[in-house]
Symmetry: none
Subunit: 226 residues, 2 copies
Amino acid sequence: MTDRTARPVRVLLVDDQPLLRTGFRMVLGAEEDLDVVAEAGDGVEAVDLSRRLLPDVVLMDIRMPRMDGVAATRAIVDARLPVRVLILTTFDLDEYVVGALRAGASGFLAKDVPAEDLVTAIRTVAAGEAVVAPRILKRLLDRFADVLPDPSATPPRSLAALTEREREVLVQVARGLSNSEIAAELSVSETTIKTHVGHVLTKLGLRDRVQAVVLAYETGLVRPRG
Amino acid sequence: MTDRTARPVRVLLVDDQPLLRTGFRMVLGAEEDLDVVAEAGDGVEAVDLSRRLLPDVVLMDIRMPRMDGVAATRAIVDARLPVRVLILTTFDLDEYVVGALRAGASGFLAKDVPAEDLVTAIRTVAAGEAVVAPRILKRLLDRFADVLPDPSATPPRSLAALTEREREVLVQVARGLSNSEIAAELSVSETTIKTHVGHVLTKLGLRDRVQAVVLAYETGLVRPRG
DNA sequence: CCCGATCTCCTCCCCGGGGAGGAGGCTCAC
DNA sequence: GTGAGCCTCCTCCCCGGGGAGGAGATCGGG
């Protein structure tokens, strides 16, 4: 409907109540930088539309027919779509909150949130940050602060099976280099690199270097940014 | 010069002098199609805000604490953000100009530029074109016209250049899928996927899908799940 | 001293990926 | 209506990547 330069934050509305969707659409439509690109009436539709339209933010209800919002969130996150999910529900029960956040949601708000707070939250989530309603957050922290996962630990996976040299080659692969470029970089022959790459793929059960790059990022062997 | 009824141009102001930022904000605020979305006081903030807000244009000072404008420009450009940098400085020394443009800046103006010229320049840069103050340009050409780099290749390397479908395909590529797998996933022929992938590579100036995966992670199109 | 692991390098072979150069249909803007 | 994008699909062609199946060299430990 609009242009594809994705300037405004593109939002997908997911709720089984059409009336409520209409209300939200009007609220968000008043914001210049928010663009409701589609609506879904249940989780299945939500996942499908997320995959096809790649919205920046999905405003997701929890209680819905066919597939609930938590399952839909998990499906979207597991599919690794570049899509953030902001849960917006009538019930801020703890189980919902925990389930949704575990599923990978970027935020959790109650439906009675002021319009201004909602649009702010959408922008925040679109920017890659997270939002949880203060009241809900407080309860969350009270209950789970002591069991928060250790952020320092992110152990490499099957990468341990690799030799020093193989890991080194994998890093170069994950920089987008070709075999010949890596050979030049490490001052060995291209054949040698091919051998190393072959070993890496075999040991990690991967099909090609593309999957090797994905795994390198997912395991943290290499990290985005710099 | 034609498409100005569309969404506003989102601008990030970067200068270490708050007063000067205020002045610019007022000037730009008077323009309906310009939208100052944020301000930064140094290069570090500028890079961070660019990454998070993806403004269309960054108005960048050069002399700043922590990280100067040239380094910040380079960081933004290297991250392949769909963001154009317009340098705006008190000093139009040649070293600054060359350094900034080498770093990937889309324009270079002196701070004493008339307000009208500035807003025009912003629109021009936002449209993907470049602007250098005539006086500065003259000096540049005098010195470097004979060593100008090959103009044949250096296309816009920005995810924003991609169509909806191309971005969608890129996401699948970045999941490690083959063309035939993506074809099955999206219910089209493998040939179509090859076409889309080809366009993605061409538009982003990449060599193969491996580099596409790297870029997808580096730009945040897809993110590792920690 | 010999074994296993690692790193190095080779050839032969096949296939998927990517470029070139199309074409038809569709929608929207002018 | 005309044209510009976009999405869809095709063929022909080439090359880099990856598998198979080796081999020689080094080094540490049993």
